[in-house]
């Protein structure tokens, strides 16, 4: 693809729930060379909102029309999870780079189709794992991978819990969302796979549905265990059925531990020259615009893509394997589609 200084950006999906369409275009447009050029949205009232948000932006009701007329370089797909793959393949096939909202898709088959089309058309494919720029994750990555303050990591516990019925909408519909673990679980899985960089051996899943909450199909408690090849396990729990929770992070290494204690603070314990020492560290400032800054620099040929399709695909491999394992009732180990 020829390098263009100005990148014309579009989004597919401008729903009002979290205003993610506006968030994507706003983050892109912080770079004066990334132009918020087009929005595709079925709902006419939301198209009108897009024009209010970005005066002069082109709006379309059909993706094909936008791809034919808007001369886009990159499109962000911000639609229900089960539509990511089909829309991404359509955009990639038109020669337009794609940023899919997380999760990249639901199944490894979909992900493989997306990656194959990106490769065939030689265009960028990425997933909006902008939380790779979260301050707490960046701190943990430095502590573990740069400072090696806890030695070799052998156990990661992550996630959160609470108690309450989910809202009855598409995000709670398992066929559309992929399951409860595909929402925040996608972020946590991306984080875990970037803290522990070993290949994955197997994944075991366990899910519980509150029998009283039948008006949506997502499970209410999801957890999985990843067994890495190098004798490390990671356990993720995402629950709206947990009256008692646990720290967002507890990470054990052979010479120390890190635990999220409150707010932005982590307690770090380490054996230093045979003696136990400890300190607290606060999360760095988050810099979510780092995602599109990297995409821009990548499209200019000046930087490697941080969120590669391969790294986003590994997340889907884990989530899919967790679902398959949970369905087996016994939580049998499942090898994910991507190591």
């Amino acid at each position: 693809m020829a390098v263009r200084k100005q990148i014309r950006c579009g989004v597919v999906g401008y729903g009002g729930a979290f205003n993610m369409g506006r968030a994507h275009l706003s983050s892109m447009a912080k770079n004066p060379n990334m132009v918020a050029a087009a929005v595709c949205e079925l709902d006419a009232s939301r198209r009108a909102v897009a024009v209010e948000d970005f005066p002069g932006i082109e709006t379309y009701a059909r993706v094909g029309d936008m791809l034919r007329h808007a001369e886009l370089d990159v499109v962000a797909i911000i639609t229900p999870h089960n539509t990511h793959a089909k829309l991404a393949v359509q955009c990639l096939d038109a020669g337009v780079g794609v940023v899919s909202e997380k999760p990249m898709a639901i199944t490894s088959k979909e992900v493989k189709a997306m990656m194959a089309m990106a490769k065939r058309r030689k265009v960028m494919l990425s997933t909006f794992h902008n939380r790779r720029w979260d301050g707490d994750f960046m701190l943990l990555r430095d502590l573990i991978r740069k400072e090696k303050i806890i030695g070799k990591v052998y156990k990661v516990e992550a996630g959160f819990g609470g108690y309450g019925k989910a809202r009855d909408w598409w995000r709670a519909d398992k066929k559309i969302s992929g399951g409860a673990i595909y929402d925040w679980g996608a972020h946590f899985t991306d984080w875990i796979l970037n803290l522990v960089t070993e290949d994955i051996d197997w994944v075991s899943g366990f899910q519980v549905k509150n029998r009283q909450w039948r008006d949506y199909s997502n499970e209410d408690h999801s957890e999985y265990t990843i067994k890495f090849k190098g004798d490390c396990v990671a356990n993720l729990m995402i629950s709206n059925l947990a009256l008692s929770s646990r720290p967002k992070w507890r990470i054990l290494g052979d010479t120390g531990s890190i635990e999220h204690v409150s707010g932005n603070d982590f307690l770090i314990k380490s054996i230093v020259n045979g003696r136990q020492m400890e300190t607290t560290a606060s999360a760095y400032d988050s810099s979510w615009d780092g995602y599109y800054e990297n995409v821009y620099r990548h499209l200019q040929g000046r930087a490697k893509l941080v969120i590669t399709p391969e790294s986003a695909a590994r997340v889907i491999g884990v989530l899919e394997a967790a679902n398959l394992s949970a369905l087996s009732k016994g939580g049998a180990p499942v090898k994910p589609a991507f190591k």
Binding site: I268, V272, E278
Partner: protein
Amino acid sequence: MPAVAQVRVTSAFMQSLSRAQASTIASLVAMGSQSGATVMGLSGVRRSRDLELVFVDVSISDNTQQELARLGAHGVRVFLVDGLDSVTTRMGRDDVHVLGVKEGDLAAGIVAKLPPPEAVEETDSLT
């Protein structure tokens, strides 16, 4: 000339440390600040007699750098850090430009993470 001699002292006893190298010891130094194994600031370092390591930010004046480099003659490893804030920010003290670590387990732990001492040539000695 005395000025030339002073420059030689600096090059002989101060080891350069990049920002990236220094950042790998941020948590250990923070642990030391809580256990009393670190000394913050120039005056504290001047008063201490049991230091094993001293870290000096490049922004410190040449005269002070040369003064601290002389600690090397007494067995203290002195590092000139290109961005000491990569260490001190973790403790909420990015105003600190000179940092000492007392002899003991913490210093040993920090030494294990740092590059080995650079060879000092005879011609760079105090003579």
